[in-house]
Structures are given as structure tokens and as C-alpha cells.
């Protein structure tokens, strides 16, 4: 799968952002002249301090917000933001699990298919398959309140994967979890990414998480939100605990960290 994904990288980008700017009605410039190409099969982390517009980029790509200026082009030739995320096979994972408390685990994962008209029986196979991907097939009848934080996030990921997306947008999905759970979910996410070859854009403020997960880190600065550096992480997958303690990992962490600090220092100068 990962070989196929690598082969695709040379083709036209899955989505291409050109000079994207976003100014909110209160005058805040969230994004300024941001250009970014996302290749199919990539695992890209958007790394930056809070307020750098990394979540805003994600929302614009998802079609949840519109860019004030600039252009967005998709591999299928369409321009502009997605009118409907389904058009571009996008799924979104929020910082909170964002589950419906009144629905079972099954009901929550069924939702995206249900909205497209799939009955329970029709959706059953795909829902169970998605639950199996995150190791929760035994919990289909449980309610979200009965699950731990990590399990809730797994359900959220299963719901995102049930539509078989080409592009998975993740907005600091593991930020609220403890470190042990986060490491486990990092590994599981990488495993799923390698098996199914979807593209991931992963927003994080953790240098370590971005280096461990992605094959490309886009460092962003705040006020106004912009790209300051694009760091390729040329380390082979699968990555495991050995990678976490390796010299390569440390080197990449240092590079990303220095870039992030430079970006933050730059913003502070510009701001104050």
C-alpha cells in the first residue's frame, strides 16, 4: 500500500491551496497568503502555535469555512472549497470525540452512511469493518459515556473512516489524551494509514507527535497565520518505539523545534 502511495506522489496534488487568505469580520487576519500542495497519500502535519490558523486551513479545506482570498484546486479539476465534503471524500476528526451521547457506538459510526440513506442492515458490514479497524467491534452496543477518552476517540476515527475517505482531516485529535493512550493511537493511526493509503492532514502543536507521524511537517507562524517552513521527514515506515528513541527522530525534532521557535519569535516581533 505504501509503495502505491509513494508512486502517486509524483502526480498532480490532491488539493492545492494558492494564496489563501482569511480575514474574520472582526478584522483578525487568520491566514495570510498561504500556499500549500497536498499530495495524494501524504501524511502532512500542520505544526504551529495557537492562533496560527492551522485549524482555519483545515476548516477551509473541509468546506466548513470559506477563504477570503485565494484559490483551492482539487485533483479532480474542481475549484473552490468543497460544497459538500462528500464530493471530495473528506472526513474530519475533531479535537473532541464529538459523539452523539444518545446513540450507541454503532449508531455513531452509522451516522455518515445513514445520512446518505443507508439502512441499518445495509450499513452493518461497513460499520463493523470500521469498528474492527479501531479494535472496537465488541463495543457496538455501548454508549459513549461507558467508554474511556481513548476509546471515544477511536469511535470518532471509525466514524471518519466508515465513508472510506481519500482525505482525512484531523484537528489535534489526541491533544486531550494521556501520553500512553496517545502513543497507542499514534501507532494505530499510522497502521491504518499504511494499510488504506488515504491522505492525512494532521493539525498539532506537538513537535514530537508531528515528527513521529508525518512524512512532511508544515510549520506555521501566527499573526498573521502563514507557512514558514516545509520540512520533509524522510524516515521509513513502519515507525515504532525504536524510531522514538533513534538519532534520526531526535534530529528531526530539533529541526522542527528550531523552526517552530523561529516562527514564534518572528510573530512576537511582528506583534509587539
Amino acid at each position: 500500500m505504501s509503495l502505491a502511495a509513494e508512486a502517486e506522489i509524483s502526480q498532480a496534488p490532491l488539493v492545492s491551496l494558492r494564496h489563501i487568505g482569511k480575514t474574520f469580520s472582526n478584522g483578525t487576519v487568520a491566514l495570510h497568503d498561504m500556499s500549500l500542495d497536498i499530495q495524494s497519500g501524504e501524511f502532512v502535519s500542520l505544526l504551529g502555535p495557537s492562533g496560527c490558523g492551522k485549524s482555519t486551513v483545515l476548516r477551509i479545506i473541509a468546506g466548513l469555512g470559506h477563504a477570503t482570498t485565494g484559490r483551492m484546486t482539487w485533483a479532480d479539476g474542481e475549484n473552490g472549497p468543497a460544497a459538500n465534503a462528500q464530493d471530495h471524500h473528506i472526513s474530519f476528526v475533531f479535537q473532541e470525540p464529538t459523539l452523539m451521547p444518545w446513540a450507541t457506538v454503532f449508531g455513531n459510526v452509522w451516522l455518515p452512511l445513514r445520512l446518505k440513506g443507508a439502512t441499518k442492515a445495509e450499513a452493518r458490514d461497513r460499520v463493523m469493518e470500521a469498528l474492527a479497524m479501531v479494535g472496537l467491534e465488541a463495543f457496538e452496543t455501548a454508549y459513549p459515556r461507558e467508554l474511556s477518552g481513548g476509546m471515544k476517540m477511536r469511535v470518532s476515527i471509525a466514524r471518519a473512516l466508515v465513508t472510506q475517505p481519500r482525505l482525512l482531516l484531523m484537528d489535534e485529535p489526541f491533544a486531550a489524551l494521556d501520553e500512553i493512550t496517545r502513543f497507542k493511537l499514534n501507532n494505530d493511526l499510522l497502521d491504518l494509514w499504511q494499510r488504506f493509503g488515504f491522505t492525512v492532514i494532521f493539525v498539532t502543536h506537538s513537535v514530537f507527535e508531528s515528527v513521529y507521524l508525518s512524512n512532511r511537517i508544515v510549520v506555521m507562524a501566527a499573526r498573521p497565520g502563514r507557512v514558514v517552513e516545509d520540512i520533509p521527514v524522510n524516515a521509513p515506515y513502519p515507525r515504532g518505539d525504536e524510531f522514538r528513541t533513534s538519532e534520526t527522530y531526535n534530529a528531526f525534532c530539533r529541526t522542527a523545534s528550531e523552526s517552530l521557535h523561529a516562527a514564534m519569535a518572528g510573530s512576537e516581533d511582528g506583534h509587539g
Binding site: 473541509a62 466548513l64 459538500n84 473528506i90 474530519f92 475533531f94 451521547p101 444518545w102 451516522l111 445520512l115
Partner: protein, 293 residues
């Protein structure tokens, strides 16, 4: 936990061998057990003592029954007058539940309309508030002037009193759906109808049930107040009319019997709404969950 509650005072040896540090836990369990028993015993005991004291006071002071009847006489009257009272209760219940049903349909319907259009809400919410804050007792006489059918008038009065908590709570509930879930619905291209059905209505359910609990009691009060105002007897006269009638005839025991019936009905309605609420929410909502501490 189950062991502690059934075995009474725990043998020292066993507790010592199992966990010495759990003395506080045991004390907590004992306190919880005492509370559980007291929750039922105390109100019943107070009620029984009150009734006995009342009985004694009336008998000892030879208070005439047309001023204050003794509880045993009220009970006798309740049994003796049951044919009259039960027929009247049935009429009042019909008005109460009729009004509650219309309040649910109207309240939820309006709330959905409000949640779909801010303009409708801005235009009509003030009327809902005016209807709520104006005492029904002063509106009711007007309603009986404009509406020919007595039943319809009674229903309208009871509805006016009952619908506001449902409207206001359901509106709040529909608007408090999680914003990330709203985004998710948008992302998956859900239609407005789908968003309402899959997200907004379930989010509003706990709020609606809270409103229903209040509205249940209010619709009974509304029905009784309206009957007082309507005041005519004959066919279809409810409990309030029987109370008025009994007061004119100085039949104080029957007044008490009717009042007890009304209170009892109110309690039953509240219990029924609480049960409904518990059954619908017990699987998922915080309010219905049992926690260890």
C-alpha cells in the same frame, strides 16, 4: 457494595483482614444506607403523625365538621361520594391531558419553527411571554366570552398555562446542540430535516422532558382554575366545580376529599412524567446516571 448493605454490621475480623484502610468507606456506606431508609420512613412518619394530630385536635376540641372535618370523616366522604367525585375527576383529567397533549404538540412545533427561523422567533416569542406572565385567572373570563364551547374554553385556558415551559425548554434544547456535531452534519451534507431529526431533536430531549414535568402539573392547575372561572354545573363538571358546589353547601368534608383527589392526581402526573423522563434518558444522559460517588 451489595454485601455491605445486606450483612448489617460487618464482623470485625473480616473487615480487618480485608481492608483496614476502608473504615471511611464503611462509614460512608452506613450513612448511605441510613439515608436510603430515612428517605422513605421520615415523610411517611411525618404524614401519619400529622393526620393523627389533626384527628385528635378535632375530636378533643369538638370542632364541628362544617369548619374542620376529621381525617377519618374525609376518608369516609371520599368513599361515599366516590361516584360523584370520580366522574368529576374524569372530566378534569380529560381537560388536563387534552391540554397537555396540545401543549406538547404546540410547544414542540413552535420551538422547531423558532429554531428554523430566527425571524419567526423574534416576531412571536414576545406573545408567548405575554401569555405566560399574564395570570390565567384574568384571561379566562374573556376566553369564556369569546368561545362558545365550554370544553374548548377549558382546554384553551389549561393550554395557555402549560405550553410555555415546553416551548421555552425545547427552544433552548434545540439551540444547544453541540457545535462540532453541527459541523459534522454540515460536512456530511445533511439536510435541514436530517439535522433536526438526528441532532437537534435528540439534543433537545432532556430539556423537553424537563419542561414536560413542569407542564404536567401546570395543565392540571390550568384546568382547575378554568373550571373555577367557568363555574357552571350540569354535564361535564369537573372537580373544581364540585369543590365550589360543596363550599356553597358547607359540605366541607367533600371539599377536603376533592382537594385530596386533586393533589393525588398532581403527584401521579409528576411521577408519571419523571418515570417517562427516566426511561428515555437512563441510557445516556448525565441526569439519569447512577454514580458510585
Amino acid at each position: 457494595m451489595a454485601d455491605l448493605t445486606t450483612s448489617g454490621p460487618a464482623p470485625n475480623l473480616e473487615t480487618a483482614s480485608q481492608a483496614v484502610a476502608d473504615e471511611k468507606e464503611l462509614a460512608r456506606a452506613a450513612r448511605a444506607r441510613r439515608d436510603r431508609i430515612a428517605r422513605w420512613v421520615l415523610p411517611v412518619l411525618t404524614m401519619v403523625l400529622t393526620i393523627l394530630g389533626w384527628e385528635y385536635l378535632v375530636v378533643a376540641n369538638e370542632i364541628p365538621h362544617y369548619i374542620l372535618p376529621r381525617p377519618s370523616l374525609v376518608l369516609e366522604t371520599l368513599v361515599k361520594d366516590w361516584p360523584i367525585l370520580s366522574a368529576a375527576l374524569l372530566v378534569t383529567l380529560k381537560i388536563t391531558f387534552g391540554a397537555l397533549a396540545i401543549a406538547v404538540v404546540g410547544g414542540v412545533g413552535l420551538a422547531i419553527l423558532f429554531s428554523m427561523s430566527k425571524w419567526v422567533e423574534m416576531s412571536f416569542y414576545p406573545y408567548a411571554i405575554i401569555l405566560q406572565v399574564t395570570p390565567i385567572i384574568v384571561i379566562a373570563p374573556l376566553i369564556f366570552i369569546y368561545v362558545d364551547s365550554k370544553i374548548a374554553g377549558l382546554l384553551i385556558c389549561a393550554w395557555i398555562v402549560a405550553f410555555f415551559p415546553i416551548l421555552s425548554n425545547t427552544t433552548l434544547g434545540l439551540n444547544s446542540a453541540d457545535h462540532n456535531l453541527r459541523n459534522l452534519m454540515e460536512l456530511y451534507g445533511a439536510s435541514e430535516r436530517q439535522t433536526l431529526w438526528h441532532l437537534k431533536l435528540p439534543s433537545a430531549l432532556p430539556f423537553f422532558l424537563g419542561g414536560l414535568k413542569i407542564a404536567g402539573g401546570l395543565s392540571l392547575i390550568g384546568a382547575i382554575v378554568a373550571e373555577f372561572v367557568a363555574g357552571t354545573g350540569g354535564v361535564g363538571s369537573g372537580l373544581a366545580f364540585r369543590i365550589l358546589e360543596a363550599s356553597y353547601r358547607l359540605n366541607i368534608p367533600r371539599m377536603f376529599a376533592a382537594i385530596i383527589l386533586i393533589s393525588f392526581t398532581g403527584i401521579l402526573i409528576f411521577a408519571a412524567m419523571s418515570l417517562l423522563s427516566h426511561l428515555l434518558l437512563r441510557k445516556w444522559h448525565e441526569s439519569a446516571l447512577k454514580r458510585e460517588n
